[in-house]
Symmetry: C2
Subunit: 331 residues, 2 copies
């Protein structure tokens, strides 16, 4: 049995959507057990089937808009997020899924789960949609400002194992840059280019301009934490803005209104493809346990996807495989 800790109190619609997502997961995935960390009275309002589900009472919640996440997690060791994280450290659970505040989860995972020895920096790796219907792993979207080429090599290596084991694809890594030719970019980009050109951990396809961000010839796109975070947010902002413009334009005129009405089903499917929560969660790389961040705005199905993803990461032993590659790198 794979044991999953669920932070039932984190997220915009907690605990309802988290509890419902957990019940969906139990129904669909036969080899998992779930522990819900949260307020038992609140949880029981939504829990209609306790099969393979346990509740652990917590005290307090890390606020979604928390300004000082490190202090919040240190000061709330009985919160649902802290208890769920600690249960992974103590091997009571194999993985945790949370849609709580991102920075608190990253900080909490550092403190309570601990970092893999072979990885010098953690990274958060959301999946972005592709034109061909598959996904691209974006690294490091956590806004980790200080980085080094060797840290980026470790992160890309982790992503390569993830792409192979979880997405079932041949890993190909592209470096986000302002031009495609070798030698483009800042000093760090040139160093990373050289380092990645020599590695045997994955196939490196070279510099990728974000003009190709939704149909790049690779399934892993990497940059420093500042740049990758900017890329992620620019994709989000452009998609939102285009959605608004499309709505403005599509509903102009009588013929246009009828067309928009007939296109409604297809337009909804289009929106669904761009909705980040449908893709699942973002894994935090570099920890001693499996930590998956589901979108704060997750509904039950999005949260279920996060649980499914976490179970798959455990089942395919992603952490063990990453560790053995990185440890042989050091020798």
């Amino acid at each position: 049995m794979i044991k999953i800790a669920v932070d039932a109190m984190g997220g915009d619609y907690a605990p309802k959507e988290q509890v419902e997502g957990a019940m969906i997961a139990i129904k669909k995935i036969p080899d998992i057990e779930i522990t819900l960390y949260g307020d038992e009275v609140e949880i029981r309002k939504y829990l209609t089937n306790e099969e393979r589900i346990t509740i652990v009472q917590s005290e307090g919640v890390i606020d979604m808009g928390e300004k000082d996440p490190i202090r919040a997690i240190r000061g709330n060791r009985q919160s649902s997020m802290a208890l769920a994280l600690s249960s992974v450290r103590n091997k009571e659970n194999d993985a945790i899924v949370s849609s709580g505040a991102t920075q608190a989860l990253i900080a909490g995972a550092h403190i309570l789960v601990g970092r893999l020895k072979a990885m010098k920096r953690t990274a958060i790796a959301p999946l972005i949609p592709r034109v061909d219907g598959r996904n691209t792993i974006l690294l490091d979207a956590g806004g980790n400002l200080e980085t080094k080429p060797e840290y980026m090599l470790q992160q890309a290596t982790f992503a390569a194992v993830y792409a192979k084991e979880i997405m079932g694809e041949d890993p190909k890594v592209g470096l986000i840059n302002i031009g495609t030719e070798p030698g483009k970019g800042r000093a760090i980009d040139k160093e990373v280019f050289d380092l990645f050109s020599e590695t045997k951990n994955f196939e490196f396809v070279g510099n990728i301009e974000p003009k190709q961000v939704l149909d790049a010839p690779c399934n892993i796109l990497i940059s420093d934490g500042f740049t990758a975070n900017i890329v992620m947010k620019t994709i989000e902002g452009t998609a939102k803005g285009i959605g608004k413009m499309l709505k403005q334009e599509l509903t102009k005129g009588f013929i246009g209104k009828i067309g928009a009405l007939l296109s409604k089903g297809n337009l909804n499917r289009f929106k669904y493809r761009l909705a980040p929560e449908e893709i699942g969660g973002a894994m935090i790389y570099g920890l001693k346990g499996v930590v998956v961040k589901a979108q704060g705005s997750s509904k039950s199905n999005g949260f279920y996807n996060g649980i499914r993803q976490a179970a798959l990461i455990v089942r395919n032993d992603v952490l063990g495989k990453v560790q053995s590659i990185l440890e042989s790198d050091v020798k």
Copy 2:
């Protein structure tokens, strides 16, 4: 009369679209004269009206895919781009419009037109579309990798004059960052934040996350050349990718196909709104003359928009106004 130099040979569809764009401009703008720099035989194939248009014969073209633009421009002083640039330096013309290779135009403008004393770095400033139908100036999209807070202050000051004089709006400047709170970002972002908070040259609205890139509460968005170039290319890539996904989804099923057909007019208007060439060109800031870069893929109407923009910049004396503000800054 405002005198405009047109690089007739630069661009994917040169000289046809450039010549036709020039003729549109002559028809629509009564107070301009145009000199076309290029191959007279080629130009005459498309030139059907010579009113207020002169041709100057050039030799050779700077290739659009030129790998070493600085060498290309130095080695081709008789090229259409070089001759047109030199004519601005010599005061034969007030402005130049080119859809030739961007890096060659920037390098050529440095060498042949020269930099304004009050600005330490040139910058390229494309206009990006907004949800509300207006535009945002993006700085510095030229990929200028080395920057300093004071250079960014000069560039934002230039943009503020441009926003006021050319776009007719109250200039508001936002700093592209990974979070909205003061203190977010890298060392340079914090320094710029402090410097911009004190300036009287424009209103500073603080940090802007690119989640808002198409509807930010400002008309000028600035970052270092690397980051702004990444933002520009991510917008482009996301818009292109979404366009492809939309096409895939919209044409699914019989009802969907009819809907898409009826929506065709509106969808085309939507595409038009996102087409960068319809917005006009990107001005290169920081030069002793007015240099406008039209899109390489410009058709006649897009190129005409670049000429219209150049004429307006000259007519409203943007350079003189920028200089007087920056010079009083120094005192």
